[in-house]
């Protein structure tokens, strides 16, 4: 917990305390650790994720706010996909060097982002590991489930994709393989886009059959939600405004590897009835129709934006 031996820990405790009163939870000082009292009682989901080896670039470039947005997006996008309302979190910060000022700066930015989202930071850990060149921000976020959401695309659905804003927080081991260890480019530290607001906007107006956050494993993630149906993705933009994916492809990465590793321009997908899909594509910024669901056996069929080849996963 943020109150032990290190001089900055008292400051961090004061920072997180500002997040403790929300509509969902009241966190109170306990004898030893903060004590969580729920104001509502629903089933819950817990979700843990960090920023992976993208933390190497964030650490070198000191892009800490973008690192926080990445960590939040990796968790909040997944919770939104499950229609869970995030209400509390623990933060495990791992840094290559002991630097109290950086810890305080990161926790202040994280607390700000949490405060405006009604997420209480209930504690965490700061670990200094000089065995690594990479920072990590691992968050464990709990979310309430008001309704369980079955997440099953149906035959006849249309798939609407929302643009990513670049590489997001996956595939960075491959990025380093392709570009070498020493190249850093602005694209490598651009923060992952948050889709939670778009999800709630769509969910409040339409009956969503399925949703997928395109993250670790990229388009293979679709396979987790397909039952007795196939997804056909044929509408990837070929002139995407983030040319990084085409650049990586041209460096010799196969079509299959591209779609198994990178979001390739689409960060989130909805599966809806045809009429709902057309409305969603109109009202959500940067949403486009990219595919359809048909009777099948859990396959993902992709018309590659890079070569035009038809891929099957």
């Amino acid at each position: 917990m943020y109150s032990t031996d290190k001089p900055y820990k008292k400051e961090v405790l004061d920072i997180i305390r500002a997040t403790w009163s929300t509509p969902y939870v009241e966190v109170l000082e306990g004898g030893t650790y903060p004590v969580i009292h729920r104001k509502v009682n629903f089933p819950e989901i817990d979700h843990t994720d960090g920023i992976g080896t993208k933390g190497l670039y964030h650490w070198r470039m000191r892009t800490f706010h973008k690192a926080i947005c990445d960590a939040l997006a990796m968790n909040l996008n997944d919770l939104a996909m499950a229609q869970a309302i995030p209400y509390k979190m623990q933060c495990h910060l791992t840094l290559p060097d002991e630097c109290g000022e950086v810890v305080v700066e990161i926790m202040r930015m994280l607390a700000h982002e949490c405060k405006i989202r009604n997420i209480a930071i209930t504690g965490g850990e700061t670990s200094i590991q000089n065995t690594s060149q990479c920072m990590d921000i691992s968050l464990t976020v709990s979310g309430f489930l008001r309704n369980d959401f079955s997440n099953r695309p149906r035959a006849g659905d249309i798939i609407v994709g929302i643009s990513s804003n670049g590489l997001h927080s996956n595939g960075f081991t491959k990025v380093r393989e392709v570009f070498g260890e020493d190249i850093i480019r602005p694209e490598f530290v651009r923060a992952t886009r948050l889709y939670d607001e778009a999800v709630w906007q769509v969910a409040s107006c339409f009956n969503i059959h399925g949703m997928v956050h395109i993250t670790g494993g990229a388009y293979l993630k679709l396979k987790e939600v397909l039952r007795d149906v196939d997804a056909r993705l044929f509408g990837f933009p070929t002139d995407h405004r983030y040319p990084i994916f085409r650049e990586i492809y041209r460096k010799g990465i196969s079509d299959e590897e591209m779609y198994k590793t990178f979001n390739c321009g689409i960060g989130f997908m909805f599966s809806l009835s045809s009429s709902s899909a057309r409305s969603v594509a109109q009202i959500i910024p940067e949403a486009i129709i990219i595919g359809a669901v048909q009777t099948g056996s859990g396959n993902v069929l992709i018309r590659s934006q890079f070569s035009g080849a038809l891929l099957k996963f």
Copy 2:
């Protein structure tokens, strides 16, 4: 969550599923992630900790079960100190190399330890970071608080310490400084002792005024629970069966640094009335009276086992 793109993930999901039914919680398959339904409703504490740079030695020596015991101890000892009953956890595993067999092996051992303790593993993340030489097992464990425990040692109390079984999981950056990067000794991978059973045994029979798990920050942790009192620790064993501490001291680490960094042979402390303390010292294995609490201002006074010097923190 343990069900995405990697071949071992389905196996891991099956492994953690075995922990999902406990007296405290029922975890059910959800549309996207496992859904947690509590059977009891108490205030709670969340606690996050990992194994730090001790993970360097565990990774090199493949001492995965000991690594799990370390991760559990770092969390369960702290929760026991707060008298919280652990009931669920998320696991964030970070490994330097992709190795599905190791992930499955670790999760199987963790699930076994959790099952016997009625802790449900509700999900987590596996992150491969080839930017690090070090594995980490970061757990976020939630615990129920049946009663809030104020954790305040009182003037007149006697302090009972329980022996550690060596270095535990702190001070490993210092260990590498002292011994160099390439030396690995059996003492470096000995698992942290779990004190949770001892705590519940003492709590069921005696009125505990204060407790401290000697972990990161070592004896400075005592300062967090002292209010208007000082702790005097004068009874450290000088012929401790783990000579590693004396060996480190002899390599030029100061008395102050030793007690700020290492457990120096005592891993957990209770502060109790004089009569209770004497009984506890008799019934708990390897418990000894090591000090007393007196009116003061939050200081920790230590008679060093190494030089005999009186230290003040």
